[in-house]
């Protein structure tokens, strides 16, 4: 039973309420306001109405960032989920030695994306980079306009697969071994078991990962900043990079805020749509 103590309740909540109000809610409101102004880092400002939005649309910067971010998401999320799942199915077999690998593959996840980005920037250097030296080639991984985004996505996948596999391992361990035994007796091979049993049974885990990974990849910044800084030719300028470049590179806080507002609305829509879509799918399967 909960007890009725209004004053105490409000007192205990007060600090976090101040924090949430001042540092989460107020900034979102302020982002809407600032997006209506021409506003620079020195503080000079003038009201523009919706001009920031129209100029973002007309000069292609916003569209480019949306496309780059969408492409980054479309590459990195499905691939890292697929690899994470395969890795998890092998790790849950709990062979001798797999406990060590389980720890190893999660190490990149605890490291700063910024630091990992710098390490990979060095590995991917055209002349002194380790990768090209091993392969005996001279590929401009991060400065070739058509390779830069896939390279950045690859590094993101590399960082996340171990972490993703942890969730799949947890999901797999909740499936009782007895149903696999039954399937084996019925003559289902490993591929059939994976496709018809494991993947459907893991749908709650997959849903959770898909939502969190898509939302996270729409916010990616540190790794891109370290690897390419948004270049070459804006080919890796994700939404967060555009916000940063507009605000702190070009001193256009109004335009940056307009991008932030659009990103915020987009994330709300993505979260709601994904939720709807997945719950309908699951309901359908169960009926």
């Amino acid at each position: 039973m909960t007890s009725r103590r209004p004053l105490l309740g409000w007192m205990l909540i007060a600090p976090s309420l101040i924090g949430v109000t001042c540092f989460l809610i107020l900034p979102v409101v302020l982002a809407f306001v600032v997006s209506l102004f021409r506003w620079d880092l020195l503080g000079t400002r003038s009201f523009l109405g919706l001009d920031n939005y129209t100029s973002l649309l007309s000069d292609g910067a916003l569209l480019n960032s949306l496309l780059v971010t969408a492409l980054f998401t479309l590459i990195s999320v499905p691939v890292s989920l697929a690899i994470g799942l395969v890795l998890a199915t092998q790790l849950v077999r709990a062979l001798p030695g797999s406990a060590v690998v389980r720890v190893i593959v999660v190490i990149p996840w605890v490291c700063a994306p910024l630091a990992l980005g710098v390490v990979w920037k060095w590995i991917l250097q055209p002349s002194v980079g380790a990768l090209n030296q091993i392969l005996g080639v001279r590929i401009e991984w991060l400065t070739d306009p058509s390779l830069a985004l896939p390279a950045v996505a690859f590094v993101a996948i590399w960082q996340n697969v171990g972490y993703i596999s942890l969730f799949f391992q947890a999901g797999l361990s909740r499936i009782p071994g007895s149903i696999y035994e039954a399937a084996r007796i019925d003559g289902a091979n490993a591929g059939q078991q994976l496709w018809f049993m494991t993947i459907p049974l893991l749908r709650p885990t997959t849903f959770f990962l898909a939502v969190t990974q898509v939302v996270a990849s729409f916010q990616v910044f540190d790794m891109v900043f370290a690897l390419t800084g948004g270049g070459p030719q804006r080919r890796t300028q994700v939404i967060a990079s555009l916000i940063y470049d507009e605000a702190f590179g070009a001193s256009r806080l109004g335009r940056a805020s307009a991008v932030a507002v659009i990103l915020f609305l987009l994330l709300v829509v993505i979260t709601v749509v994904q939720h709807r879509w997945f719950s309908r799918r699951i309901t359908y399967d169960m009926s």
């Binding site: 103590r5 209004p6 309740g9 409000w10 205990l12 976090s16 101040i18 924090g19 949430v20 001042c22 540092f23 809610i25 107020l26 900034p27 979102v28 982002a31 600032v34 395969v86 092998q90 790790l91 062979l95 690998v101 720890v103 999660v106 190490i107 490291c111 700063a112 910024l114 630091a115 990992l116 710098v118 390490v119 920037k121 060095w122 590995i123 030296q133 909740r174 499936i175 149903i179 039954a182 049993m197 049974l201 749908r203 709650p204 885990t205 959770f208 916010q219 910044f221 540190d222 900043f225 916000i243 940063y244 605000a247 940056a256 805020s257 932030a260 915020f264 994330l267 169960m286 009926s287």
Partner: protein, 332 residues
């Protein structure tokens, strides 16, 4: 009923997975007796069924394990490779690196890069100190204020509670990058730009995510225990410290680890709100090192190694808690 139960908010993922276990077995065999029959048949003759198969079964087992080990080894090598390169380069002397390139094994391993990192005037001494202080202050603040709020949401009744909790949940959707410009303007207006307070203030008053996770756990505390302590005259703070916190140690350890990792690694906000070496955190220092000494990779790799090492050690020490934290995070 089923539709509601399986709404995959993640919070139900554990339960719904359990519920669904039965489903495929029921569906493909129709009634459950098929299942029972199989079990019954299997038990009496394990011996005779295995023996004739031994040869091919053994081969298949080795092959199966071989494939598994191949996957595991490839995963381990690909994961560790970049770290190995990073450490190797950090221990290579500048001259050897220039002569023999990145794949050379440091002969002999030297500490000149690590030493250089700490002796140069814009080195890593200040960033390490600033980062440790920042993480410590944010950690203590977030834990204390989140525990207080979560307890109120879970165990007390007061007007506006449910609405307020819903608002907290909604703020989980607000990403850092959306608020970075307005936060910059606000803290600049307060005269806090390039101060320690600017680094910690937006985070120190508690986190909605932590409050949400803690509330879920605090709700499970048996009320008899709370009542017993109340009757003994314990105040709320004593109740929290001696009952609520000890009972929920696992989730609190998880949150401590998540908070340390998040803020040790945070980059965008510290970079934006500080300028110059005074309040530089370790990620910003690493980034600055890379752009400043563009081709001095041995020094830069010493910096990245140093930035990552503490958390890698933490990760290895607390591997069990981190693995378990995944289950807790799924509750989200």
């Amino acid at each position: 009923m089923t539709a509601n139960d399986r709404t995959p908010t993640g919070g139900h993922s554990g339960r719904s997975a359990d519920e669904r276990h039965g489903a495929p077995a029921d569906v493909d065999t129709g009634p459950a007796d098929g299942h029972v029959e199989r079990r019954g048949r299997r038990t009496p003759r394990p011996g005779p069924r295995r023996r004739p198969l031994t040869g091919s079964l053994l081969a298949r087992r080795v092959l199966g394990h071989g494939a598994t080990y191949l996957v595991l080894i490839v995963a381990a090598v690909l994961t560790l490779g970049p770290f190995l390169f990073s450490v190797m380069t950090a221990l290579t002397s500048t001259t050897q690196f220039a002569q023999q390139g990145p794949l050379s094994i440091p002969a002999p391993p030297v500490l000149e890069n690590v030493v250089g990192l700490f002796t140069s005037p814009d080195g890593f001494v200040t960033p390490v100190a600033v980062t440790v202080q920042m993480v410590a202050v944010i950690l203590v603040g977030q834990m204390v204020f989140s525990v207080l709020a979560a307890y109120a949401f879970a165990q007390l009744r007061f007007p506006g509670r449910d609405l307020l909790f819903w608002v907290y949940i909604a703020t989980l959707m607000v990403p850092q990058v959306v608020v970075v410009v307005p936060l910059y303007l606000m803290l600049s207006e307060m005269g806090l730009r390039n101060t320690f307070w600017a680094l910690v203030l937006p985070f120190v008053l508690g986190s909605p995510y932590a409050i949400f996770l803690l509330r879920e756990n605090f709700r499970g505390i048996p009320s008899e225990l709370m009542d017993a302590m109340r009757i003994d005259g314990a105040g709320t703070l004593r109740l929290l410290w001696h009952l609520v916190v000890p009972l929920n140690r696992p989730i609190i350890v998880t949150l401590v680890l998540i908070t340390v990792v998040t803020h040790w690694n945070s980059f965008m906000w510290p970079m934006v709100i500080t300028s110059g070496p005074e309040w530089r955190v370790i990620t910003v220092a690493t980034s600055a090192l890379q752009s400043q000494y563009n081709n001095n990779w041995t020094l830069v790799m010493a910096g990245t190694t140093l930035a990552m090492l503490p958390l890698v050690i933490l990760m290895v020490l607390f591997q069990k808690q981190i693995t378990r934290s995944v289950g807790d995070a799924t509750l989200r």
